[in-house]
Structures are given as structure tokens and as C-alpha cells.
């Protein structure tokens, strides 16, 4: 299983600060599509994705037990 940590408005969208799914074997690009269709997170275009405390590209493949973080770039300042 994979723990998916949510930040900023994604917590509200999901109604929780994290989710658990088995997404091992998927690429990050496939993960985006999967979460967009399976959850209430809405569009994940532009959301930064880290795996085990390291930002990942769209091609990175997710392994079992990887911890995933979804970080939305916010603009305030």
C-alpha cells in the first residue's frame, strides 16, 4: 500500500490529510490520472509530486510502500 500525504487545499478536497491506495507499478503520470478519477481531489495538473521525500518526474515508477506527497504550488506572499 502507498500512503499519500496531502497539502494545502487538497486536504479539504479529500476531507482528510492523507489517503491510502495501492499504486505501486504506476508511473507518476498514471498516478495523476488514477487519483483524478478515483478521488475528489479534482485536477492534479500543476501539482508537484514527491516520492519518499524526493520530487519525482512524470516517468518515475512508484514502488510498494513508497510514501507520496502532493504539494500544490500556492501563490500568496
Amino acid at each position: 500500500m502507498n500512503k499519500i500525504l496531502l497539502f494545502a487545499h487538497l486536504k479539504e478536497q479529500a476531507g482528510s490529510s492523507n489517503l491510502t491506495f495501492d499504486v505501486s507499478g504506476k508511473t507518476v503520470r498514471e498516478l495523476r490520472d488514477y487519483l483524478e478519477s478515483e478521488t475528489d481531489l479534482g485536477s492534479l495538473a500543476g501539482i508537484m509530486i514527491a516520492i519518499n521525500e524526493e520530487f519525482a518526474t512524470d516517468e518515475t515508477v512508484i514502488n510498494e510502500e513508497d510514501v507520496i506527497a502532493l504539494i500544490p504550488p500556492v501563490s500568496g506572499g
Binding site: 494545502a8 508537484m48 520530487f55 504550488p73 501563490s75 500568496g76
Partner: protein, 338 residues
């Protein structure tokens, strides 16, 4: 040098580091929440020169999180850059403070960049951040990114030629509608971002490049979360801002958001770069939950803010009715879209 004695006693800076700091010139784009904090810290630390650029004026709703400003500044609608300069000079008369009240566009920044040693992010929109990112790489100047909303914030130090750039990290302009005007902000979030920005600034300005943080920090102060993320995998050789054949796209006039008074009408049109599209449903939901009345149809949204009626189109365009003032229109637009 007695006024800097506690900073000199800190061994990693010392006498040598303080001498370096006293030679340096930092450019802070935006003196709102982030910029008032970092400019105050660097003025107190004794940099040679600070240039601060901001297009906005002080309002009462700024005072909750924007240091340097007082009720009097808000009542007089003092321009932020000038109000900040006034206070910074009372704090440290030895620092040369240049205040510029203007939209920070490429032409302006390229005109003043020559002896700048460090760029610090104090802005509230990604368009200006991508401009800073291109400037940083064209002129080989470190750029300290920061942003925040609610209790959530992020900071990252970009060193040209070493780290990925903001373009590598984000790929394109995010248009998420998450701004301080839509979901609010608490002051400690700002301070947490600026503590990181200012610490990195002191490392760079004092000649301690080796200790610069290599990770991207992101945190939520209300939910007690703090993560520190490696970024190396995102460095993109084909990046147009920092890659092998870079063209600095945000320094080219037509890459930026276009703002123009609509011919024969009391309205301004704003058109973002690169034909960004808007997710109208998400925007509507967020604005409604922030207390706005939102109208519209599947093709456009309408909303009233500060007495101006705005219409947002799916292709990213917006019309701001009831004004011919480009800066006002742009400000209201960014306060809703980010």
C-alpha cells in the same frame, strides 16, 4: 560594528562574513507579507543596499501580516515600497534603501540588475516569480523563492547552474486560485517562510554558499507538518529558463500577461501568457467558500470584488469592468487568481 556584534559572534558569519554582508546589494520584488519581513531582517543585518519594488499601496487588511506598516500608512494609502523605506531607514540609517513604486516587468528589472547580488521573492503571483527566475539565470544571481497561503508555505533557494529552476519545478504557470484573498493567511506562516528565506540570504550574502539548503521546504503550521524534499530529479536540460539552450521566455514581452484597456469601453482585458486555461468549476467553488457571490455559465464566471465586476473566461482571459486603470485591474485579477 557594535550593532552587529551578536551576528559577528555567530562563528559561521564572524568578522569576515559581516564585511561581506556590508558589501552586498539585495533586490526584493514585492514588499507585502514576505517582502516586509525579509527586507526588515536584511536591513537589521547590515547589507549595503536594498532595492524594493512594489506596485501596491498599504490597506488596513494588510496590517494583520505585513510588518513595517502602521495604521497611519493605511489611512494615507502610502505606496508599500515608500512606507517600507521610511521605516527601514528608522531601523538602520546606514543601509541604502531604494524604493521603486511600479509593476516589476522585465524592462524595469533588467535596467537595475547590474550590481545586484541576490534576488528575494516577496511577490504574490507566479508571473513575477517566473520573471525573477529568468533574471536570476540570465544574470547568474541566486534567487530565493517563497510563497504561502493559509497555514501552508514553501521555500526554495535557486542557484543558477546548480539547482533546478522554478520552471523545472513547476513546468508552467500554476493558476490554482489559491491566494490570500480567497483562502486567507495567518501571519506565522509568513514568518516561517521568511525565516527560511532570510537564513539562506545570510548564508549567500556572508559568503557561505556551501551551507545553502539544497532541499525544497514545505510545511503546514496549523497541522504541524514539515517536509524537506530533494529536487535533483527535476533539473531539466531542455528547460528554456536554465537549460542548455535557454531563451529566458519570461523576459520576452509577449510571454507575459497582457493587460489593455478595451477599446471604447470602461473595462480592462487581462490575457495570461501561453493560453493558460482556467478550471471554472474549481474557481467558483473556492470563491463561493470564501464568501463571494459567483455567477456565470459553463463558459464564463462573473464575480464582484472591490466594486468592480469581473468576468473570467475558460481560456484564461478576464474582463474587469468599471475601470480603465491597468494596475488596478491587474491587482484585482491577481488577488482572485494568484
Amino acid at each position: 560594528m557594535d550593532r552587529y556584534s551578536r551576528q559577528i559572534l555567530f562563528k559561521k558569519i564572524g568578522e569576515e562574513g559581516q564585511k561581506e554582508i556590508a558589501k552586498k546589494h539585495a533586490l526584493i520584488l514585492g514588499v507585502g507579507a514576505l517582502g516586509t519581513h525579509t527586507s526588515e531582517t536584511l536591513a537589521r543585518a547590515g547589507v549595503r543596499k536594498l532595492t524594493i519594488i512594489d506596485r501596491d499601496y498599504v490597506e488596513m487588511s494588510n496590517l494583520q501580516r505585513q510588518h513595517l506598516f502602521t495604521e497611519e500608512d493605511a489611512l494615507k494609502k502610502w505606496p508599500k515600497a515608500e512606507a517600507a523605506k521610511k521605516r527601514l531607514q528608522q531601523i538602520n540609517s546606514e543601509v541604502d534603501i531604494e524604493a521603486i513604486v511600479a509593476q516589476a516587468d522585465a524592462a524595469l528589472v533588467e535596467r537595475i540588475i547590474e550590481d545586484v547580488d541576490l534576488l528575494i521573492d516577496g511577490t504574490d503571483n507566479f508571473e513575477t516569480r517566473f520573471l525573477m527566475n529568468d533574471i536570476a539565470h540570465k544574470y547568474n544571481i541566486p534567487y530565493i523563492f517563497g510563497s504561502c497561503v493559509g497555514s501552508f508555505g514553501m521555500a526554495f533557494t535557486i542557484i543558477p547552474g546548480e539547482t533546478p529552476c522554478l520552471q523545472c519545478l513547476l513546468k508552467k504557470l500554476p493558476l490554482q486560485g489559491q491566494t490570500c484573498d480567497t483562502v486567507g493567511i495567518i501571519a506565522p506562516t509568513v514568518q516561517m517562510v521568511t525565516a527560511h528565506q532570510s537564513a539562506e540570504a545570510l548564508k549567500i550574502l556572508s559568503g557561505n554558499r556551501d551551507t545553502v539548503r539544497k532541499t525544497f521546504v514545505s510545511f503546514d503550521l496549523w497541522d504541524n507538518e514539515y517536509v524537506s524534499l530533494k529536487t535533483g530529479a527535476l533539473k531539466d536540460k531542455a528547460c528554456l529558463s536554465c537549460g542548455e539552450d535557454c531563451t529566458y521566455p519570461f523576459l520576452q514581452a509577449d510571454a507575459n500577461t497582457k493587460v489593455a484597456v478595451l477599446c471604447g469601453r470602461d473595462a480592462v482585458q487581462i490575457r495570461p501568457a501561453e493560453g493558460e486555461s482556467l478550471l471554472l468549476e474549481q474557481l467558483a467553488e473556492r470563491w463561493r467558500s470564501a464568501g463571494y457571490e459567483v455567477g456565470g455559465n459553463p463558459f464564463l464566471l462573473s464575480i464582484v470584488k472591490e466594486g468592480r465586476s469581473l468576468v473570467f473566461f475558460k481560456d484564461g482571459r478576464a474582463l474587469v469592468h468599471g475601470t480603465k486603470n491597468l494596475d488596478e485591474a491587474r491587482r484585482i485579477y491577481h488577488s482572485l487568481i494568484g
